[in-house]
Symmetry: C2
Subunit: 343 residues, 2 copies
């Protein structure tokens, strides 16, 4: 306890300034972002830009990836940094929303709540969520309603009804069937190259394009390349090659992207159906927040647009939203909303 209450991390803290603040954190596998916002009454719609006091960035805080101690330390540092930049102290904090990847089970949530509890005075409201929830809130400006689809290296769909029920689909990694993700797309492209090479599949321009990108001279060198470092992000980085091959008319690459669209749309449909977000007639409107590199609309072969088309055929009330703020701001808005409603 002492280590957290009086340790060096919080050594900067000045005397109380009187201004109440909120912290929102987005903890992913590559970085952690912390946003500090003031507790003030805001208009509806919210002001643009939002009153953000400070933003701090640190490394990975997924406890599955770096272990609990490192994750705790990273979170504590990034919060201390954001408070210091905003000229605030821990005693000014009224609520913290920590949205972090790797929260898949109530036991994960409770363990992380316990760490946070050690860092703050007892009256601070604490919320721990899967990082997908912050992404949803970044599109709905803090309202937990609708469905978010994230497709970057991994993929997950996560939804909430207005009365607080929630559901998710995918988000379990490729071993457990997340085939629409960036990793899934790239792994299928690598498979297609091997299959063409050993006679199990059709020829594809993915072969020359992927080998050129990786500076390899033969498909059998892909085995060594893959096992040298099978990290998901390294493999997912090949998605742009697959997209450009599909745009050039390659059938194998097109099939991979079409399958990915079906998979991503299926995750959203499963969540929408379980929660009844579309209403009984399947045409109620609901926000559909789209996040992640795979869904970015910067290509002729636009995966995100195709996913929306596919979902809209079944649920015409889906309102696609591409967030203008980052997920950490979504987390801060969630904390702010909850605090304003509960106090």
């Amino acid at each position: 306890m002492k280590r957290y209450r009086n340790g060096q991390i919080w050594g900067f803290e000045p005397a109380e300034s009187g201004r109440e603040v909120i912290l929102g954190l987005d903890g992913g596998t590559t970085s952690t972002v912390c946003i500090c916002m003031p507790v003030i009454s805001m208009s509806d719609p919210l002001p643009d830009p939002l009153p953000v006091l400070a933003r701090a960035v640190a490394g990975c805080s997924n406890h599955n990836s770096v272990g609990e101690n490192a994750a705790r330390e990273t979170l504590e540092h990034v919060m201390a940094d954001a408070l210091s930049k905003s000229g605030s102290t821990r005693s000014a904090v009224r609520a913290v929303c920590l949205a972090v990847s790797g929260v898949n089970h109530p036991t994960d949530q409770q363990r992380i709540l316990n760490w946070l509890r050690d860092m703050f005075p007892e009256n601070v409201r604490l919320y721990v969520r899967n990082d997908a929830v912050a992404a949803l809130a970044s599109g709905t400006m803090g309202k937990l309603h609708g469905c978010v689809l994230i497709a970057g290296t991994g993929t997950i769909a996560y939804g909430f009804t207005e009365d607080g029920r929630e559901a998710r689909a995918a988000g379990a990694g490729p071993i457990l069937g997340d085939w629409g993700s960036g990793y899934g797309i790239a792994a299928q492209a690598l498979s297609a190259v091997i299959r063409a090479y050993d006679g199990r599949g059709p020829d594809t321009v993915l072969t020359t394009n992927i080998l050129r990108t990786l500076h390899l001279s033969s498909p059998d060198e892909l085995i060594g390349w893959t096992y040298a470092d099978p990290s998901w992000a390294r493999i997912a980085a090949l998605v742009p090659v697959v997209v450009s091959c599909a745009e050039a008319g390659d059938e194998v690459a097109n099939k991979i992207l079409q399958d990915s669209v079906q998979e991503l749309a299926l995750s959203v449909k499963a969540v929408v159906q379980r929660l009844g977000l579309c209403g009984e007639e399947a045409n109620d409107s609901f926000p559909l927040v789209m996040v992640g590199g795979v869904l970015e609309a910067n290509k002729r072969w636009d995966i995100g647009r195709e996913v929306v088309k596919c979902i809209s055929r079944e649920f015409p009330g889906a309102i696609p939203i591409r967030p203008k703020v980052e997920p950490a701001v979504g987390a801060a808005l969630l904390a702010w909303n909850s605090f304003m409603n509960e106090r």
Copy 2:
């Protein structure tokens, strides 16, 4: 050099006995087996049982898994052990065939040949092969002709023509498309459980059966289970559960096994076609050696039998063989054959 020529490992060596011997090694990811056979003229067909002088077993010798130094030491120990048990010395060795997993490229082969060269006098003939080649030889009693299909945790098809051309398919791991393997079957079953749970797929009795086997209470606990230790063998160990669910009539499990049969047959067909093993009329006969837990004929839902059926429809000349000796004996027979032909 000194370490290998005069080191403790070879300290047992007695005076020359005069009997010439051959070593055959099968180095897999779980264990390494070394067989010592005498160099004698043998009848055709070969005597049954074969004249095996000694058998020794050690741990993993896949250099990709344990690193080069550990792999070298394991190989040296297991050969010393087999020679010691047979009352022979290194100077009695005429040929060594080392068939080891992880040999995917000529550079792998050359590097391992260099280690072996350090361990034996210059006149010893040395052969380094992918472990699939020893499995083929275990079915053909040392003749490099035909196609072997291995399906255990992983899968590979490997073939040779009588004039020495060779080809392989799969054997690149699941990221690169080996979906017919034991790992592939089990990973698809785990996916099916998650997909049924989150509403993306049909219900399946795989759910209750897999959760019971793993002592878990809910499908969302599979995420933690998988990432606690994503080793292929641990996941592939679920294959019997999938087979029993398929036998009980579960459609999802049946579909997974049928897909696996298609994938495994496709690997063999690709090799047979590239090598022209079936002749121009597609009905020449050739040995089809079947190896590995997934292909064992001990179930009502017999994956191996279905694979053979599928291959025979296209290539009626395929002669299925289930080896009676282990791959290390195949490696020893390969070394013996090469030595007898070349001396």
